[in-house]
Symmetry: C2
Subunit: 223 residues, 2 copies
DNA sequence: ACGCAACTGACATAAAGCTGTCAGGAGGGT
DNA sequence: ACCCTCCTGACAGCTTTATGTCAGTTGCGT
């Protein structure tokens, strides 16, 4: 198991909001306690809101949501930057959308403001492993929107392949990894898939509707 | 010299649009030819438009700019995604701007569209080394806009420190590294600085105006 | 005072990544 | 034909990173 994968797993474990001892996490991931402490360091340094209490264990603080602010050229810059990054990383559809949106905004703005935004024209040469697994994102996005079932071929962390029929519900971004939350028809349970481990995703003609117990609202991260 | 730094250097070398032999690049960067070939592999795999011609050398293809497209919910998604990424990575100002902008857009949209966009609510836990060096970005951006001179403390790749007065002109994003293009008053020449190697940046009260030969338009990447 | 569990530092070892060397192959130009 | 250069694979040595072990410290609760 690669280090990155383990960090991701730790977040998943902590996500239930409960108290977890380093020893338990170590046992579960089959590493030494020392390694868990080092991982926690990394997570904290990366901004994950986790806190350790001596004698107790680890817990995540609830995430703080920020109140809305005012309109400004700050936001314009954020937008340009965001579009530049999306144009670099995401799937072709999004890439085009990002580029056209950026151009459209430039076109609408008064010329003086454009000059400002111009300082942000990006020459983008991704070195990216960031792009790994982005190839399926278009399919997944479309299926979530269309409420279309998917046939998924997935490579588990241990390397084995599985095939399943899922109802895609939700995507999340974890800084390094994208996840797809779905109801798995094959296993009759919620599952979270890492997009970068998806080998193949094919949209099926079959649509699905919300059924009690199978909607995103019913999903509980604590397994 | 770290590998990442070398890749970045290679791009700089190729940027002049000329033909370069692997041997020459190898000599200049003091590595073997084999290593250059491996680096080229990496660059190509990362989307850098470089091409090798047997018997000739390496050249960059000119970048293709895409024609503008139409307005749509694609663009909305690109925007949401972009804001999520910016909120993760950029400096505090941009971060807030991105968050508020995303919220503002959500607020303006009809509820049906919001439901779509909702599938993209991001829980963001950056593992980021992406954030390295972002601490100065706010200062740099502000100085570019205000045409304010900067006192820069910069760590060269060999580890030595330099201090200079610069006129910040332009920022670029290279997928892994941000660069700041500036006229260096101290050296009386254009210089490109890597933002992640900037130790300290202090805005000076002194402003600057465009002088012939010192504007961004006068800058020629081929040293 | 005691136990618990988070922490820290130092060190040895194992795994992974990077690089150079060598030995070739392949396409284009002369 | 020949030369130039890109390009590939294999292997050995080096460097970096990751991990485990050990020995200790710190803060909290009982």
């Amino acid at each position: 198991m690669r280090r990155t994968d383990r960090l991701f797993e730790i977040i998943q474990i902590l996500r239930d909001g409960g108290l977890h001892r380093a020893q338990d996490i170590a046992d579960r991931l089959e590493v030494s306690v020392r390694t868990v402490y080092r991982d926690m360091d990394t997570l904290v340094a990366s901004g994950v809101p986790v806190e350790g209490e001596r004698g107790l264990g680890y817990m995540v603080r609830e995430q703080i949501t920020l109140p809305p602010v005012n309109l400004t050229s700050e936001e314009l810059e954020a937008l340009n930057l965001g579009m530049a990054i999306v144009a670099e990383a995401a799937d072709p559809d999004l890439r085009n959308a990002a580029l056209s949106l950026a151009e459209k905004i430039d076109a609408v703005l008064p010329t003086q403001t454009v000059a400002e935004a111009d300082a942000w024209k990006f020459a983008i040469y991704p070195f990216a492993d960031a792009a790994r697994g982005f190839s399926h994102m278009a399919t997944l996005r479309a299926a979530i929107k269309a409420r279309q079932k998917l046939s998924l071929q997935y490579r588990r962390i241990d390397g084995t392949l599985t095939q399943r029929i899922i109802r895609p519900l939700h995507m999340e971004y974890w800084g390094r990894v994208w996840t797809l939350t779905a109801w798995c028809d094959t296993r009759a349970a919620f599952r979270v898939f890492r997009v970068d481990l998806i080998e193949d995703a094919t949209a099926l003609p079959e649509l699905f509707v919300d059924e009690p117990g199978k909607t995103l609202a019913d999903f509980d991260p604590c397994n």
